[in-house]
Each structure stands twice: as C-alpha cells, then as structure tokens.
C-alpha cells in the first residue's frame, strides 16, 4: 500500500500565482517528513519537519506539518518559472525488525508558465 501520497499529481499555474502542494502519509513510528525539489536529475533538499504546527520558511517557500491529521503542505508564493520542477515528499519512520526507513511519495509536477 502507498505510505506517502502526494497531490495533485501535476499542476500548471502562471507566474505570480500561489500554489499549495499536499503530502499525506500513513506510517507508524513517524520520525520526520522531508520535502525535495527535483529539476533535472538530482533532488535537492528543501525542508525537514519533525514537529507539528511549526512553519519552516525559506524565501517564497514554506511548509508545515500536521502530525495529528498526518499530512504536510508546501506553499510557494509569487511563483516563478524557475519553480517548475517535481516536488517530492519523503517520510522517515521506524519499522520493527528493519530499523529506520524512508519512503518517497510519487511527487507533484509543477509547471509555472510566464
């Protein structure tokens, strides 16, 4: 079963728009949730979230985690064409008999048009 689900699968917006990307998860022994941006090949790290309700911010990007409802959102304000990428969410958790695990969601493909 899918442990990390991202929505929407893809999104097309115009420059200046604000977007919200969603990541829901279903794991036990949750440790952290990570957001990555993938433009060409390698994903680059954006945020790590471990506590509920504390917003992390970097420029026009921000993210928050809700550990009760098991989801996170990534917001991008005043989008630019350079924000076009696949945004990946990953969850780390502890699995008995296996140890620490990390699972990626399927990603959201964002396209920002001029």
């Amino acid at each position: 079963e899918d442990k990390v689900v991202q929505s929407p699968l893809s999104l097309v917006v115009h420059e200046g728009d604000t977007v919200t990307l969603n990541c829901s998860y279903e794991v036990t022994n949750f440790r952290s949730l990570l957001w990555y941006k993938q433009e060409k090949k390698a994903p680059t790290f954006l945020f790590m979230l471990t506590s509920s309700g504390i917003e992390k911010k970097s420029g026009r990007l921000s993210s928050i985690l809700d550990k009760k409802e098991l989801f996170s959102i990534l917001n991008i304000t005043a989008t630019q064409t350079g924000d076009s990428a696949i945004y990946l969410c990953a969850v780390t958790y502890w699995l008995n008999n296996a140890g620490n695990m990390l699972t990626f969601g399927g990603g959201t493909r964002l396209m920002v048009k001029p």
Binding site: R31, S32, L34, Y36, K41, A42, P43, T44, F45, M48, L88, A90, T92, A98, G99, N100, M101, L102, T103, F104, G105, G106, G107
Partner: protein
C-alpha cells in the same frame, strides 16, 4: 565540501550487456542509498547501505541487480544482462548516519538500454 558524485553521467548500452554505475558519497557519510527513477515516475528505492553492509535490499527489482560498497565509501551498482525496462536515471544519495538523516543526492546516471 564536495557533494555526492556519480559516474558516468550518461550510459548507453545494448540489451544483454552488463553495466556498472558508480557512486562516491559525501566524505564521512556512513549511509548510502540507490534509487531509480523511470521517465515521469517517482523515486523507486533500490538498496540501502550502512557502512559496507546492506541491511535493506528489498528494492532490487531482480537478481540481475546487485550492489556493493567497499571501504565504507564508494558504491557500485551492477546490472547484468540489461533489459530495455532498465532504462532510467539511477540516483545515489548519502546521509551522515542513518536513514532518518537528510539524504543528499548525486547528479544521477542516465542509463539507456537500446
């Protein structure tokens, strides 16, 4: 300092040939991961190394795939008797200690099997 490096950056091979992909993690990182990303798909976990041992090989898609890590550093992913469905970008990542740490990705190797 230097990030994760991978070689080659691109590899074109003929069906049935063996290929070796190399990953140099960030110096001092004990955890190393291999992922695969097919066109338009999310990241698919292949294998995780802690030091030289691989506690999780669950993602290797078939016995044609193998990986090793020597000296707690460089890792090689080998694909024997390549098939067209092996065509993908193969990404390597490393993290300082465990799977719950932030993973830093290399630029990837784009493998094309003709």
């Amino acid at each position: 300092g230097a990030g994760v490096s991978q070689s080659p950056s691109n590899k074109v091979t003929e069906k049935g040939k063996d290929v070796e992909l190399r990953c140099d993690p960030i110096s001092g990182h004990t955890a190393l991961y291999w992922y695969r990303q097919s066109l338009g798909q999310g990241l698919e976990f292949l294998i995780y190394f802690q030091g030289n041992s691989a506690p999780d090989k669950s993602g290797l898609p078939s016995d044609r795939f193998s990986a090793e890590r020597t000296g707690g550093s460089v890792s090689t992913l080998t694909i024997q008797r390549t098939q067209q469905e092996d065509s993908a970008v193969y990404l390597c990542a490393s993290s300082p200690r465990t799977r719950t740490d932030t993973q830093y990705f290399g630029p990837g190797t784009r493998l094309t099997v003709l």
